[in-house]
């Protein structure tokens, strides 16, 4: 300022009036510049308040350190937004997608994404190194591998973003809460495995185990107030690589057992229906025999009633007639007739019979 004054005074020292006028002139012009500068500054400040949010992130405005907007409204989505300049408002950006995913870090043997893709596994040693190979201990004290992937979404942004730290930096992101969810999944796997038997986890009750893990993760998320809602939990469990063969053999043996039982069940059905059919035919035969018998007797009785008067009129004659009729029929039907007259001397004849019914005949041989 003093330099300025000195500059103003030195070239034209004479008139104090003219000097003050010149000073006023200079001041006026500099004030115009200041005004313009101020206006420009205001515009810059206003313009600087605009900011954009990308599709893979959300923004939160902190006014005097306090997040603006409640619940989901706190998160500003993709697009153009405006805030007050820095000391008043602070814009923080959080990398966030609609659905968050996190996988467990315990319970699975050491492998790499390349191996997973190729479907190969690292060679199995005789034991598991606790530092590198993850596993869980089941209720029946078996060792198996299991892992889970959890999908979740942010339910309460204030909690999820501002209540969980990741390391010691002052950044705001979801790494802290993601870490907490991950540990909840780890705990859920260990706790659920501790109360399930190995066969239930691997074969018999896969869904039950998954439900237990899912339930536990949700329970922990609620109890630990993570501000997230669990959407889905997927669990995968396998027997240790070292025992793959024996586990497969058990499965085969059980399948064989089921097949044997199923075969027996169909055999049971066959026997039962066969017996039923046979029983029905036996009773049916009895029924028809009964009917036959009864009707035969009845028709006999009817014939008897008709014959009775004839018989009573002359029993002897009737008998003789009937007998003669019968003999006629008999002699017609009988195959061999041998007439054996009495010996003239009245002595009895000796008769030798060769009892051989059904002598072999070409006719009968032809019939099976």
């Amino acid at each position: 300022m003093s330099d300025h004054e000195h500059y103003d005074h030195s070239p034209a020292p004479p008139m104090s009036d003219a000097g003050s006028q010149a000073l006023a002139e200079a001041l006026r012009s500099s004030f115009v510049i200041v005004k313009l500068a101020l206006a420009a500054l205001l515009v810059v400040i206003f313009a600087a308040g605009f900011f954009t949010v990308g599709p893979q992130e959300k923004a939160v405005i902190l006014r005097f350190g306090k997040p603006q907007g409640e619940a989901q409204k706190m998160l500003l989505g993709a697009g153009l937004h405006w805030s007050l300049p820095y000391p008043i408002d602070e814009v923080i950006r959080i990398p966030i997608t609609e659905i968050q995913k996190v996988s467990s870090t315990v319970g699975w043997y050491l492998t790499s994404p390349e191996m997973e893709l190729a479907g190969t596994e690292p060679p199995a040693g005789p034991s598991l190194n606790p530092q590198i190979d993850g596993y869980v201990v089941t209720a029946d004290r078996n060792i198996i591998h299991t892992r889970a992937t959890v999908s979740y979404h942010i339910d309460d942004p204030r909690t999820a973003i501002f209540n969980f730290a990741n390391g010691t930096n002052q950044q705001f992101n979801l790494a802290g809460v993601s870490n907490a969810v991950q540990n909840a999944v780890n705990e859920a796997l260990i706790l659920s495995a501790a109360r399930f038997n190995v066969d239930d986890i691997i074969t018999r009750d896969i869904a039950g185990f998954q439900d237990a893990v899912s339930q536990r993760v949700s329970e922990l998320a609620e109890r630990e107030q993570l501000g997230v809602a669990i959407d889905q939990v997927q669990v995968q469990s396998v027997a240790p690589r070292q025992l793959k063969d024996v586990f497969a053999m058990v499965t085969t043996a059980r399948q064989n057992r089921d097949k044997l039982v199923n075969d027996a069940l169909s055999e049971q059905n066959r026997i039962a229906s066969q017996a039923g059919a046979l029983a029905a035919s036996i009773t049916n035969a009895a029924e028809s025999a009964r009917t036959r018998y009864v009707t035969a007797i009845e028709s006999d009785a009817m014939a008897f009633t008709e014959l009775l008067p004839k018989y009573e009129s002359n029993p002897n004659l009737f008998a003789q007639l009937e007998l003669a009729k019968a003999m006629t029929q008999i002699l017609t039907n009988v195959q061999d007739k041998i007439f054996l007259p009495q010996r003239a001397d009245g002595k009895p004849r000796e008769l030798r019979l060769q009892l051989n019914r059904e002598p072999p005949q070409p006719k009968s041989a032809a019939n099976p």
Binding site: L62, F64, G65, K66, P67, P87, P126, G134, Y135, A139, R141, I143, F162, F164, Q170, A180, N183, A184, E187, I190, L191, A193, E224, P240, V246, V250, N256, L260, D263, A264, E267, Q268, I271, A275, G276, L278, I282, E287, Y293, V294, E298, F304, T305, L307, L308, Y311, P315, E322, L323, Q329, L331, N333, V334, D336, K337, I338, F339, L340, P341, Q342
Partner: protein, 302 residues
């Protein structure tokens, strides 16, 4: 005058901004601050996000801390259970600075790392004490009532919380859970051997069960079939018997003349028995061949 006014306004704005920077400070949602006056901390923690007033340095000074929940996991370490099983465990702890003014004098520069080292020491002793009180069956058990893993977590948490409270560290534990549970490497091999033999038992059991079950089902089916047939036979006998009983009602008809009835029956029997494929040997006394007997010509020729 106008010039002076503008100058004054500009000066005032500048002074205000300067004063604001000098006399105020902000606390963010995730922070807690402690205000010290000549090095002496104020009675209250400033844990609500807002704009606060302070006297400029060196009168008052602001210390800020992260009040968010920190995740800490201890080392995977070995402990003996009550029944002498070596167990490997690792726990995760969600902890935070709950009371900044207690916290920051205790740890150099209010460092989270230093606090976590302290926490790890406490966890180590708490874990050893709690695990040593429980049998392995409390850690893994198919019976949910006997499984005490959650209780164990709570016990460790309570033990650490008590230590933190007595020593007034200004730290609180929000949650604690088991992250890893395992057995020493040498033990895994024996577990594998045991699992293998258990599998062998299951294999033979499945084979045996299948055969036994199949035999059981088949023999039961056969027994049932025999029952059904026996019942059918009995039913058949009953039906035939009822036929005889029904026929007996017609007996009265035959009683009118039993002689005729018997004669008829005999005749019928004779007819039926001397049917086809029978051989009849008879002499002249058998009617109607008895006719031969009385032929006079016959005797003559003889």
């Amino acid at each position: 005058m106008k010039k002076n006014l503008i100058t004054i306004v500009i000066a005032a704005v500048l002074v205000m901004i300067f004063a604001l920077l000098l006399f105020t400070f902000q606390v963010r949602q995730s922070e807690v601050a402690v205000l010290t006056t000549f090095g002496k901390p104020a009675a209250n923690n400033l844990d609500q996000p807002d704009l606060y007033f302070k006297w400029p340095w060196p009168i008052q000074q602001v210390y800020r801390f992260d009040k968010r929940t920190q995740n800490f996991e201890d080392k995977y370490s070995e402990n003996l259970t009550a029944d002498n099983t070596m167990l490997l465990t690792s726990v995760y702890v969600g902890w935070r600075i709950s009371n900044a003014k207690d916290f920051f004098p205790k740890f150099a520069g209010g460092s989270v790392e230093v606090a976590q080292r302290q926490l790890e020491t406490m966890l180590r002793s708490a874990k050893a004490a709690v695990i040593g009180k429980h049998n392995l069956s409390d850690f893994v058990n198919p019976d949910p009532k006997q499984l005490k893993l959650e209780a164990i977590e709570d016990e460790i948490k309570t033990a650490v919380q008590n230590q933190l409270a007595t020593q007034n560290y200004g730290i609180s534990i929000d949650f604690l859970g088991v992250k890893k549970l395992g057995l020493p490497e040498s033990v895994t091999q024996t577990v594998f051997d045991r699992m293998k033999s258990e599998r062998q038992v299951l294999i033979s059991e499945a084979q045996f069960q299948g055969e036994a079950e199949a035999t059981k089902i088949k023999s039961a089916a056969e027994r049932q079939a025999a029952d059904v047939l026996a019942n059918a036979q009995a039913e058949a006998t009953r039906i035939e018997g009822s036929g005889v009983a029904e026929a007996a009602k017609t007996l009265a008809v035959f009683q009118q003349n039993p002689e005729l009835a018997i004669f008829q029956l005999q005749l019928e029997a004779l007819k039926n028995s001397l049917n086809q494929k029978s051989t009849l040997i008879f002499d002249e006394r058998t009617p109607p061949f008895s006719l031969f007997q009385n032929l006079p010509a016959n005797t003559q020729t003889k």
